[in-house]
Amino acid sequence: MNPDVLWRYLPSLISGFGVTIVCWSAGGALGMLLGFAIALARRLPLPPLQWALRIFIEVFRGTPFLMQLFLLYSGGPYIGLRLTATEAGVLGLGLYSSAYFAEIFRAGFASVPRGQIEAATSVGMAPFDALIRVALPAALIASVPSIVNMLIVLSKETVVLSIITVPELMYQMQTMAAETFTAFDAIFAMAVFYWLLVEVVSRIGARVEARVTAFLAREGAAA
């Protein structure tokens, strides 16, 4: 690729990378919060709510992310939801990942041995305290590997936002490619860049995972 071209487009590429990071982190944070709320709500004994949440999760996990984005971005205005492309992108990433995060947290809670909750209540903890102080920390730690994995999946999904014209990295790169007739070079650079990004994120994720679950290994060694 012509280095001059790259140099000329560097500012827009950097801004695109910034938008990618913002969408990724905002969408991931939204998805985690929403997913956690759903996982908690699924523990409430209200059948209609359970059905509604089940349907929500099935719909968002059973349809393609691109379809959800189109529905949100071009269908939204018809139900009074006027969003910019970036807003729709962040909301879309959040809703899509919340369904997966809800299942991750649910599995986390399910992995806490029943006996721990029973022990907590039998030493006189209120059920709410048992949930917050006993089940929650264990559930969160059990969820860490899946959360890291989902965040990596999500980082790759941000590329799809370019299709609804969110000005993230892929979009900026395609604009450059179209204006300078360097489609092949641009897409090759993109492939290398995203591969490196995902590699780095995976390495960091593995570190975090090892760090957070280190005490489990020590406990295992002691036992």
């Binding site: 099935e58 719909v59 059973g62 349809t63 393609p64 992310f65 691109l66 379809m67 959800q68 189109f70 529905l71 071009s74 269908g75 018809y78 139900i79 790759k156 999904e157 590329v159 799809v160 370019s162 299709i163 892929m170 489609a183 092949f184 897409i187 090759f188 993109m190 492939a191 995203y194 591969w195 995902v198 590699e199 995976s202």
Partner: protein, 218 residues
Amino acid sequence: MKPEVILHSFGYLTQAAGVTIAVSLAGIVIGFVIGALVCASRVSRRAWLARLGGAYVSVFRGVPLLVQLLFIYYFLAEFGLDVPAIVAAVGGLALSSAAYQAEILRGALNAVPRGQAEAAVALGFAGSDIWRRVLLPQALRISIPPLINEFILLLKASSLVSVVGIAELTRVSMNIASLTYRPLEAYVGGGLFYLAINLALAGFGALAERRLAADGAR
């Protein structure tokens, strides 16, 4: 919201769902063949082969599918290969899915108890027979549920081939949306088709899992 828009375009959506299924099926089958080769090289005792397989998995799982699809599309154009977009679409899906399927197969191979191979050696099985008659049959059945799961993921990922102009579900929903000015109905309609296909597949997967578990218990 006008549900009749969905009914009017039902025929188009059904046809498009057929394209989605065909493209995904071709992707998963070709992906399985490539994935099996990648898996074989990953578990190979030759270090360079193992490293090559590892690099394949790392690249094709690390690069977003949309980038892979456009890469193949432009790659073919760059070298003047005038192939229809469907080749790039199916090729992209297959190459990407192969990386995931290779890992599924490797996991399944690791899940076959060590003692099985040792017992086969003790009984005097030849090396190739150990693979053909003992390890592979067991590994394949272990890998069926995750492979069905991978098919569901690929079916959803196939919506991205709409960007290279394949008239599958997502593309046709877009066309209906822009022809009727009713994006809400068009995308809900398309989404329902995806949901129906995936629920059917998930049901099939659960059935297969139960059957295999029951067989294993016997």
